[in-house]
């Protein structure tokens, strides 16, 4: 109880002191909050991108089989379907048709897919939100494609994909298999790759091995590997942006160090008075601790809120390019808010821990002011 009342008294005094030097402290807190904001923005954006990618990949098959020719991706003949299907543990094999289409007028590349159960008819397409936004010249409400034969084919957009998975589906165009073959000149009986379902995760390794043995010119890719790659890529980018930002952090911590060591004569006299009035070194240290905590937590919260607004409401304008960096279309990023405690704890360590260590010695120096300094004038 006594301890609590004491700490409360110190905290009261600290808050009064901070308030008395509003201007100086506001500058410090703002600079501090800016550092928190920058780091938090990167971390939030990375987390959101990872979540996004994981959500998208959740719907993809466990295993994809591509055929390789001279180290390049080749079309898969229909006969492969039966071979893979015959392997034990495989429940379903779906041959897929997809590719990239470059639109010179828009200056952008789009992903074109022909899903197996395409619900619409010949000459009709389904487009992602990014496509609808960027395709420059629909003629009579038709999207004109240049086919491999050199002529053009018009398609009517009959449906738009929902916006919530824009990062991956933003540049997506869906059409029927026949239309796909016509635009890209893909002969019948050949597919882009095979999607393989393996319900039992434990058999995945065995199935992968068997496919490779039966069809040596193929490359099976597991969904797990894709997830891992995405996570690694996003983390890697986030990590490097933070390393780049460490310059800003360093500048701030030098500023904070300078502030903490350059105690004004007035503050020094004040601590002398407190000590003369019966405050012990430990008491002044507690007060300094409260001061550091108040400044850190205020800056931390401010930076955190600003970063949240920046990433989830304003689309991470500052870092979006550096972090996404994969699509020519640069889809508008509406990230789903996702925060987890690890991030907050890491953020705390990246920002508050250095501040605490930096202010330790200055606080101690201030706290060990001679109490009789006040008496000696």
């Amino acid at each position: 109880m006594r301890w609590l009342a004491r700490q409360r008294a110190f905290l009261d005094f600290t808050l009064l002191s901070l308030w008395r030097r509003k201007g100086k402290n506001a500058a410090l807190i703002l600079a501090y909050a800016l550092v928190v904001f920058l780091v938090a923005s990167v971390m939030f954006a990375v987390r959101a991108l990872r979540t996004e990618a994981a959500n998208v990949l959740a719907g993809t098959p466990e295993l994809i089989v591509q055929r390789m020719l001279a180290g390049r991706h080749e079309t898969v003949p229909e006969s492969y379907v039966a071979t893979v299907k015959a392997i034990r543990g495989v429940s379903r094999v779906t041959p897929r048709l997809w590719g990239y289409y470059f639109n010179r007028a828009a200056g952008a590349t789009y992903t074109v897919m022909a899903p197996a159960g395409f619900a619409h008819g010949h000459g009709e397409i389904v487009v992602g939100p990014g496509v609808a936004r960027t395709w420059l010249s629909p003629v009579d409400g038709q999207y004109l494609f240049r086919t491999v034969a050199g002529d053009s084919a018009g398609f009517v957009p009959v449906e738009a994909l929902p916006e919530d998975t824009e990062l991956v589906s933003g540049d997506l165009i869906l059409m029927s298999g026949a239309d796909f073959r016509r635009v890209f000149g893909l002969p019948e009986g050949f597919y882009t790759d095979l999607a393989v379902s393996v319900p039992n995760e434990r058999e995945l390794e065995t199935v992968t091995e068997k496919i490779q043995r039966a069809l040596p010119d193929t490359r099976p890719i597991q969904r797990r590997e894709l997830l891992r790659t995405y996570a690694a890529v996003f983390d890697w980018r986030g990590g490097y942006v933070i390393v780049l930002l460490s310059g800003a952090g360093l500048a701030f911590f030098i500023f904070a160090w300078d502030r903490a060591t350059g105690l004004s004569a007035e503050e020094r006299r004040e601590i002398g008075v407190l000590k003369a009035l019966g405050w012990d070194t430990a008491d002044v240290l507690s007060m300094k601790l409260w001061e550091g905590l108040t400044i850190s937590l205020t800056a931390f919260l401010l930076g955190l809120i600003a970063a949240y607004v920046h990433v989830f409401l304003a689309g991470a304008g500052l870092f979006a390019q550096a972090l996404k960096g994969w699509s020519v279309l640069a889809p508008r990023l509406d990230l789903t808010p996702a925060i987890d405690p690890t991030e907050l704890l890491s953020l705390f360590f990246l920002t508050v821990a250095p501040y605490a260590v930096i202010t330790l010695i200055p606080a101690w120096r201030a706290a060990t002011t001679d109490p009789d300094a006040v008496m000696r004038g």
Binding site: V39, V42, M43, V46, R224, L227, R228, A231, A232, D235, W236, G238, G239, Y240, I242, V243, T281, A282, L285, D340, P341, T342, E343, L345, S346, L347, F348, F349, L350, A353, P354, A356, V357, L360, I361, A363, W364, A367, T368
Partner: protein
């Protein structure tokens, strides 16, 4: 290595902690060598002031060590998808041989810091710095331990190359697995429960003795250490199983995940608090012979004992909760 914000945070913290501790240990040695309470010289005054710096630094280090311990587990959990076969933190720690060593050393380091701070507090209660020489003598090995722990942790983090093949927690903490983890899971739940309850009883009994007579502090400390070990076995053997409601899931790390209401935090925090306070009571057992502490020490010991009981009590309550309130029953 993996350049991930949380990994960077851990590396930074390890660096800061090592720097602070190395400086504190050197200061400690200087204080220990030059300390002469009878002297009123400015040098002596300066040394006495430095004791405040060392205490504050150590408090900071302990706070960082405990928090970074949780962050380490979290990072390991977060990284598991980078490793083939890892499904939670348990798999990540197994990626290289530093993982579990780092975890163990860091836990010991945090406990050591706690005990040191308790001794330090006792020292400040006496008017002639009665424990000064011994506390600064112990500061050096403690610093070495924590610095070693952070070094091993750094090696672990730097050695995390993605795509390494590891085992998931089901394999590590399963009854079929070999090694320490497997052996722990293999302890029959009945035996683990008996050990845990016996530890609790031993702690309660010796605590009652300390509270009533002020003696038997070392026995209480030994009981606390034993209960710490028994609790770790208990977590792997039956506490986790009851919380997961899965007879084959023994992983001690999944408990701190959101799916289980972060129940691991109070569980482990209580355990660390109880063990650190219990060991501190033992560390202070011989301090009563100093005249300056004769009056204040019993009170401090009682408080530490009560704090230890509170910590262990929390752990026991969390262990008992699902056994009482869930329908899940073993075998």
């Amino acid at each position: 290595m993996s350049v991930k914000p949380a990994v960077l945070a851990l590396l930074l913290t390890a660096g800061l902690v090592c720097l602070t501790l190395a400086a504190a240990a050197v200061q400690g040695l200087l204080i220990r060598r030059g300390f002469d309470l009878a002297s009123g010289s400015p040098r002596q005054l300066a040394l006495e002031r430095r004791t405040y710096l060392v205490s504050t630094a150590l408090s900071l280090v302990m706070a960082f060590e405990i928090m970074s311990l949780f962050l380490l587990v979290y990072v390991a959990d977060d990284l598991h998808e980078l490793f083939v076969g890892a499904m939670c933190a348990a798999g990540t720690f197994n990626v290289n041989s530093y993982g579990y060593t780092a975890l163990t050393l860091k836990t010991l380091g945090a406990l050591g810091c706690g005990v040191w701070l308790a001794v330090n507090h006792a020292d400040t209660l006496g008017y002639d710095y009665p424990l000064l020489k011994s506390k600064y003598l112990w500061l050096s090995p403690l610093s070495l331990l924590v610095i070693l722990a952070d070094y091993v942790e750094t090696r672990f983090l730097l050695g995390l190359a993605p795509d390494q093949i590891t085992s998931c927690c089901g394999a590590i903490f399963s009854e079929a697995a070999a090694g320490v983890a497997g052996t722990l899971s293999h302890v029959p739940p009945r035996l683990a429960q008996a050990l845990f309850v016996a530890g609790l009883l031993a702690v309660a009994r010796s605590a009652a003795h300390v509270l009533a007579t002020g003696r038997g502090a070392r026995i209480f400390a030994a009981a606390s250490a034993a209960l710490f070990a028994a609790s770790l076995i208990a977590v792997v053997s039956f506490i986790s199983v009851f919380w997961y409601e899965l007879p084959t899931h023994h992983c001690p790390f999944c408990l701190i995940q959101a799916e289980y209401g972060f129940v691991g935090y109070p569980l482990y925090a209580g355990l660390i608090l109880g063990t650190a306070c219990g060991l501190a009571v033992g560390a202070l057992a011989g301090a009563g012979r100093h005249a300056s502490l004769a009056e204040v020490l019993p009170r401090l010991k009682r408080r530490l004992t009560v704090a230890a009981l509170a910590g262990f009590g929390l752990t026991a309550a969390i262990a008992a909760w699902p056994m009482i309130f869930s329908d899940f029953r073993l075998g």
